[in-house]
């Protein structure tokens, strides 16, 4: 029985690729920090996208390519990689890509994986913590501290985000999935807005309370959040920017529906490989011009 327990030094490293679920697993970063486990993750770079392109299937979406690139980049730099299988109930589904991440990586990379299935949150932490060789007491303590820190931080961000709605500048609501709009490399497009005097409100910091005003059948957890943010901010913002990677399955339907139902100026940015920003710059510039003329 005891042979299963791995003795670990202080220098244990867990890789957390900065793509897809990373942004939904922020609590884990705090948790690992509490346990003194080093979390390794890098920002997306051009090199990582190219690595992803080599192994990914040609039809996979850009976010998926980025994720696979991260995995390849991380492989010899850490002891474990954390890949959860995020799924909720039937009314709160994830994109189909999230369900196959673990098996894709498990089949094609030779690396130790940590994984959990979304059961009860505390159970996941106990499972992973025990696999890393900690005892229940340590894990529970770390979990509660992580929980507090995470919630505090999230609350702060949400308040900051909503306060932007009161600013006197032009306001833009940026609608997109966290793994796209928070990504460092794809974010270069969003940085282009900073040249102009506009405030950007992020859609992923809202709750999913309002989506049914616009869509009754919607069953994707994070699309609900996006749609709710549109409903919530519709009156106060000057324009809406949809930020999508090509070819995102959820956004292809949901964004189209939202665009058809709102009467605000909007810009639909679909990003494939980001080779030059010049084209994007022109479009963003003219969009901001339109907003200022309104």
């Amino acid at each position: 029985m005891f042979s299963n327990i791995i003795c670990l030094g202080d220098d244990m490293k867990v890789g957390l690729p900065k793509g897809l679920y990373y942004y939904y697993c922020q609590k884990w970063v705090y948790f690992f920090n509490e346990l003194n486990v080093e979390v390794i993750s890098y920002d997306t770079t051009k090199e990582i996208i190219e690595l992803g392109n080599e192994i990914a299937n040609s039809e996979m979406c850009l976010s998926m390519k980025i994720f696979l690139g991260h995995i390849k980049y991380l492989i010899d730099k850490c002891d474990y990689i954390l890949i959860p299988n995020l799924h909720y109930d039937k009314k709160n589904q994830m994109c189909a890509n999230f369900n196959c991440l673990y098996d894709l990586v498990n089949n094609f990379f030779n690396v130790k994986l940590l994984t959990f299935d979304n059961a009860k949150e505390i159970k996941n932490y106990l499972k992973i913590g025990k696999e890393l060789g900690f005892n229940t007491k340590q894990i529970k303590k770390a979990y509660s501290i992580a929980n507090i820190k995470y919630n505090k931080n999230l609350k702060k961000l949400k308040i900051e985000n909503i306060n932007k709605l009161n600013s006197i500048n032009k306001k833009i609501l940026l609608v997109g999935h966290s793994y796209n709009i928070r990504d460092k490399y794809l974010g270069e497009v969003i940085d282009l807005f900073k040249k102009f005097n506009v405030d950007i409100i992020y859609s992923d910091l809202f709750d999913d309370d309002y989506y049914f005003y616009l869509s009754k059948d919607l069953y994707w957890k994070y699309s609900k959040v996006n749609v709710s943010s549109v409903i919530y901010c519709k009156e106060q913002v000057d324009g809406i920017v949809f930020f999508t990677t090509f070819p995102c399955g959820l956004d292809s339907l949901v964004n189209e529906l939202v665009m058809r139902k709102i009467d605000k100026p909007y810009l639909n940015l679909v990003i494939d490989d980001l080779d030059s920003l010049a084209g994007m710059e022109t479009r963003i510039e003219s969009f901001v011009d339109i907003l200022e003329q309104n």
């Binding site: 189909a96 369900n99 673990y102 919607l218 292809s252």
Partner: protein, 344 residues
């Protein structure tokens, strides 16, 4: 989808007092219409169904029925309704499956709204017959697929099938349906075929719509049968309605080596079936899907791996609204040549 309009029409005819309009066959014009009004990168079934809806509305339909479930399918209806309303059509769209579940109470209310005299027991009785009918159809289709490549008189299978479907629509109780099924199954068995014992065997797997709607895969099955190949296809309505959960569970158990979690839609069954086809020593596997089908794209590398390990050739076909038929034919021909050469 294929011949399944027959049982669907039968069911609706029996339980609802309304004119049932079978959507016209899909043509190139349907696809053109569909793609014109669809978003850029939705998967192809969306375009097909939207095109069919527009054509049906043009012919005077005012109630449309849409199923949903699985991956993106579940969300089709809402967007399609919006698109059609923006185009100025007046109609009602009934979505039978919402949030991945078929809510019987909701469906009952919907039907009640169309036809006030609707009787639930009558409805259930005919639903039972329809499900039986679909089951028999699938069984016969399986037999046809195995043998159609070797028929001596061209068209004898498809003619007999047409005849059978016409007879099926006249049935009123499950017992006579069963007798009809037995009778026609015997007739099918009597059709003369010239089948060698070691014929080439190919399994077809993939995404459900593209598999079941022959137009969307450019009659791939017919094409294959012309090469004298025995075909095996798993996906049919019986599987979707009755066996879906069971097979998914079985898939997780049997192919533990390749997958730990269940994938969405048909993806996990496809992994299992690939394994099955490899174990049964099939000569080749054809994986077809519509382009941008997310669940299938995710598992494609895994399917490749299984096929590689078992040394079975596997080919992927991705169908879009404007895929050229000639390109598909060339690839299919090359694939056929390859599996034939491997035999030798």
């Amino acid at each position: 989808m294929g011949d399944y309009y027959v049982p669907a029409k039968y069911l609706l005819n029996k339980i609802v007092a309304a004119d049932i309009l079978v959507a016209p066959l899909i043509t190139a014009k349907t696809i053109e219409l569909g793609s014109k009004y669809s978003p850029d990168f939705v998967c192809t079934p969306f375009k097909y169904t939207l095109g069919t809806m527009i054509e049906a509305l043009d012919e005077g339909a005012n109630i449309l029925i849409q199923f949903g479930g699985g991956c993106r399918y579940g969300y089709y209806s809402e967007l399609q309704e919006q698109i059609l309303k923006d185009l100025g059509y007046k109609f009602e769209l009934l979505n039978l499956v919402t949030n991945g579940k078929a809510n019987i109470k909701r469906i009952y209310k919907m039907i009640k709204r169309i036809d006030k005299k609707f009787n639930i027991f009558k409805g259930l009785y005919y639903l039972f017959i329809t499900i039986k009918m679909v089951k028999y159809m699938d069984k016969i289709d399986d037999y046809i697929r195995k043998n159609i490549g070797f028929e001596i008189n061209k068209g004898s299978f498809s003619n007999l099938k047409q005849e059978m479907l016409e007879k099926f629509t006249l049935v009123n109780n499950p017992f006579s349906l069963y007798i009809l099924y037995k009778k026609y199954f015997n007739k099918f068995k009597k059709i003369k075929i010239n089948k060698p014992k070691d014929c080439l065997k190919v399994g077809i797997i993939g995404e459900l719509y593209t598999l079941m709607e022959p137009f969307s895969n450019y009659y791939l099955e017919k094409e294959l049968a012309a090469y004298n190949i025995e075909l095996k296809r798993f996906t049919n309505v019986t599987y979707l309605l009755l066996k879906f959960k069971k097979i998914n569970k079985k898939a997780l158990k049997k192919s533990k080596k390749y997958m730990k979690y269940q994938f969405s839609a048909d993806a996990s069954s496809n992994v299992y079936w690939t394994k099955y086809l490899c174990d049964k020593k099939y000569d080749g596997i054809i994986h077809i899907k519509s382009s941008f089908c997310t669940p299938e794209i995710g598992v494609m590398p895994i399917l490749d791996k299984i096929a590689n390990e078992n040394n079975v050739p596997l080919i992927h076909f991705s169908f879009d609204a404007n895929t050229s038929e000639v390109g598909i034919k060339t690839r299919l021909e090359a694939f056929y040549d390859m599996i034939e050469m491997r035999r030798k």
